[in-house]
């Protein structure tokens, strides 16, 4: 079993370097970090403003997600954080970092961590576009 070093749902900017530092380990040959950032466009529309809303259980769910990935992969250490509230264009909504002995495992475990977080985490993305329209993503 690896170590789950940091699991957070926060309302402030996520420092990817902090998560990378959290998973650093002398046994680790590979660290893969994913940063999911707010884009300036979505399906051809210009995004003016983006906000994530989170359910009160979000951080507990994120911890379960982290445990599930740790159990399924050869992880040395992992860290994952999701931001809620308004997020400016270009800043990160989700950052995940995974340290493993070899690189293949790091890419696979990090991708699985991101995919499972997106599937299970009770958070919702609201976009307001420059053309005045708005949407709750996945619930249009």
């Amino acid at each position: 079993m690896g170590e789950i070093r940091l699991v957070e749902v926060v309302e402030h900017p996520i420092d990817a370097g902090l998560l990378e530092a959290a998973v650093a380990d002398p046994r680790a040959g590979a660290i893969v970090t994913f940063s999911g950032n707010v884009r300036d466009h979505d399906h051809g529309r210009q995004v003016a403003e983006l906000t994530y809303e989170g359910h009160p259980s979000a951080e507990a769910v994120l911890r379960e997600v982290a445990k599930e990935i740790d159990a399924a992969h050869e992880v040395i250490a992992l860290a994952v954080a999701h931001r809620i509230g308004p997020i400016p264009i270009g800043e990160a909504a989700l950052v995940a970092a995974v340290a493993t002995a070899h690189r293949g495992e790091a890419f696979e475990a990090c991708r699985a961590l991101v995919d499972l977080t997106k599937e299970k985490l009770p958070v919702w993305k609201h976009q307001r576009f420059t053309d005045g329209t708005e949407e709750w993503v996945n619930c249009a």
């Binding site: 994530y52 809303e53 359910h55 909504a93 977080t117 009770p122 919702w124 609201h126 709750w136 996945n138």
Partner: protein
């Protein structure tokens, strides 16, 4: 915050569900999960579009059966499809 009577059910609404109902919480009479959501659809017609896509928690546990009874003092969370990341 509304005063929570022991006899009522709190329905907490999130994201698109909250937007459709126009408020984050509705207090209503006990009943089955399906009855309670049906009452919300009558009272807040925009909720009809959102409800079929939502999952629910009853007292913090995922509820898959709309025939489930929700007694007074219970809590329902209505969760639209997640869109994290």
């Amino acid at each position: 915050m509304a005063d929570v009577g022991a006899g009522t059910v709190q329905v907490h609404l999130f994201a698109a569900a909250r937007a459709a109902v126009g408020q984050p919480m509705v207090e209503t009479e006990p009943g089955t999960l399906g009855e309670i959501l049906g009452r919300l659809e009558e009272q807040f017609p925009p909720f009809r579009q959102v409800r079929p896509r939502c999952s629910c928690l009853v007292d913090e546990v995922a509820a898959h059966d709309e025939a489930m009874q929700v007694p007074g003092g219970g809590r329902i969370d209505v969760l639209p499809p997640f869109s994290g990341g």
